[in-house]
């Protein structure tokens, strides 16, 4: 591309302005990269959720507790293979900011339902044999420098101990990973034994937060969910059963429509950018009318002049977009370290391609008006100043 030096030089004409414009584009793409990664992480949870797992919660709220007796009834349905009572522990380690999810689950049933959680056999056995035992995700163990055999004091957030104490001390007996490293952030959690939890807590004994059921045939999910809810219809503890996927979606919806929020933020950012960059490009062409007229005098055709101006816009936008995405790639791991459940934050190839697509579109939208103006420039008028 022999015209590249010419395009490059034109961008260097007013360096501070070009750099400022480039920086604002870069920041927009940095934001795009980060928010997109967050969005992907959120949706990952929905994507990987098992289609053969159902989640049964209280009919009106996921915070409603259910009697433990529900479990046996659900299990009695022919299509159901396994049921695990689950509870939200809601504590924290050392500092409230060190947030990560902890679940009290029926360990054997739960682990058999989640083959994606990979735990060495002897650690699994230790978990089954130790009532105060917990297993944690590898990423968490790394973050808090925990090793097997450690005693982990957890501050109770919701559930005090029988004796009124607020510190639950668990034994770390297992460190698990996910079968697919991509799923790590979804399972960045601590699993506590339900039996111990239920016995040691001060109130709400004999209840569960929700039940996870593994069903024999994923095709029956809809029917089974209805059957489960029918079991408890008109009882004081009515239920609502969904596939895990639908449940996760619903859970995310409770946080607000992340996708919509992200799109709105980015929309506003890029809309502003449109004016900023558009103004810069227009100004830059306006200042160069005589120079552009000279190029035309030398025989540069109208389409070539159009291409040169568009090229400028493209070069600026693409470089800035790459800088922004590069920064996002560098900053994401640091950001993820402060956001539990997001250890896998990355810019996917798809997001990068989309970003470059957006950059190209931006370049064309802001570059076209000045490029057309440059193209239509009348040499004689421009040179004489008439």
């Amino acid at each position: 591309m022999k015209y590249l030096p010419l395009i490059w030089a034109a961008l260097g004409r007013r360096k501070p302005r070009t750099i400022l414009t480039g920086l604002s584009i870069a920041v927009a793409f940095l934001l795009y990269g980060m928010l997109n990664a967050v969005n992907v992480a959120f949706n990952n949870g929905v994507e990987i959720a098992g289609v053969d797992r159902l989640v049964t919660t209280g009919r009106y709220s996921i915070t409603q507790i259910l009697p433990y007796g529900h479990e046996a009834q659900i299990r009695s349905l022919p299509g159901v293979e396994q049921v695990a009572a689950s509870n939200w522990f809601g504590g924290y380690y050392q500092d409230q900011r060190n947030f990560f999810p902890q679940f009290a689950v029926e360990q054997e049933a739960y682990l058999s339902m989640y083959p994606e959680i990979v735990l060495p056999a002897e650690q699994k056995q230790a978990f089954f044999n130790t009532r105060t035992g917990v297993v944690v995700a590898k990423t968490l163990a790394e973050r808090f420098h925990w090793k097997l055999g450690d005693k982990i004091p957890m501050q109770a957030g919701i559930w005090p101990l029988k004796d009124g104490g607020n510190v639950w001390t668990f034994d770390l007996v297992g460190i698990f990973d996910t079968a697919n490293p991509k799923d790590r952030s979804q399972y960045e959690m601590m699993l506590i034994r339900y039996d111990y939890f239920d016995e040691a807590r001060q109130f709400a004994k004999g209840t569960a937060g929700w039940y996870v059921s593994k069903i024999k045939n994923a095709n029956e999910a809809g029917t089974l969910a209805k059957q489960i809810d029918a079991l408890f219809a008109n009882s004081p503890n009515e239920t609502r059963t969904d596939t895990e996927k639908a449940f996760n979606q619903g859970f995310i919806k409770q946080l607000g429509d992340i996708g919509l929020i992200i799109r709105s933020i980015l929309g506003a950012v890029f809309f502003t950018l449109l004016f900023l960059t558009g103004n810069t490009m227009m100004q830059s062409v306006r200042e160069r009318i005589p120079e552009l007229a000279v190029l035309k005098t030398l025989g540069y055709s109208d389409p070539l002049v159009l291409a040169l101006v568009l090229g400028e816009s493209l070069l600026l936008t693409l470089i800035a977009a790459l800088v922004g995405l590069g920064l996002a790639t560098i900053l994401l791991p640091g950001m993820a370290a402060h956001l539990p459940g997001f250890s896998g934050l990355t810019i996917t190839a798809q997001a990068a391609v989309a970003a470059l697509g957006i950059a190209t579109l931006l370049a064309i939208v802001v570059g076209l008006p000045p490029a057309l103006r440059a193209m239509r420039l009348d040499i004689v008028t421009a040179l004489s100043g008439h």
């Binding site: 022999k2 015209y3 030096p5 010419l6 030089a9 034109a10 260097g12 004409r13 005589p290 120079e291 000279v294 190029l295 035309k296 005098t297 030398l298 025989g299 540069y300 055709s301 109208d302 040499i379 004689v380 040179l383 004489s384």
Partner: protein, 230 residues
Amino acid sequence: MSEAIVSLRGVSKSYVRGKQSVEVLQKLDLSISRGDFLALMGPSGSGKTTLLNLIGGLDHPSAGEVVVGGQRIDQLSSGALAQWRSHHVGFVFQFYNLLGVLSAEKNVELPLLLTPLSKAQRARHVATALEIVGLADRAKHKPSELSGGQAQRVAIARALVADPTLLVCDEPTGDLDRKTADEILGLLQTLNRQHGKTIVMVTHDPKAAEYATHQLHMDKGRLIEQSANA
């Protein structure tokens, strides 16, 4: 009389200003021979630049025929004209019109970017052109680092580099002091005499016109006399 390289027949040009149409050139006939160095003189507003623009294929006449290098250019589309200019005409302006962000050699290279020449070939042509105008040692300088005379030499090198049929100069010394102007005019004369370049130069400076082989005077859009310099 040798072969005519530029020939105008019945050329008129009018501009529309508001509701009025102003006839800037009136039924001009003109013939310039290959190897001529023509000085086009006349008061300001007499139509010199307009005429030069028609010869250089920057503009279309309202009427008449313009033939340059054997080709009628008055009816070419603006796209075809652009291509024609890149092959046949080199332009030199009063205010040099260099691109400020480009070094001297990059400015000189501009017309060559339109040719199929390789990078190495372009570099060779640029070096030769800068050599001819005596600025080989200023190749890397930006226009802002050059004096007026040097900048005009770069502009002349740029006009020359694609080896055009015709050099067209509009007041090339209008912005220069006497001494520098003489140097530039000497350079144009050399190009005409030693390199056989046909040059059409607009000037209102009689001293400048003395460097030319022919002089032509314009007034109110008409040619009034044609004289050959000794």
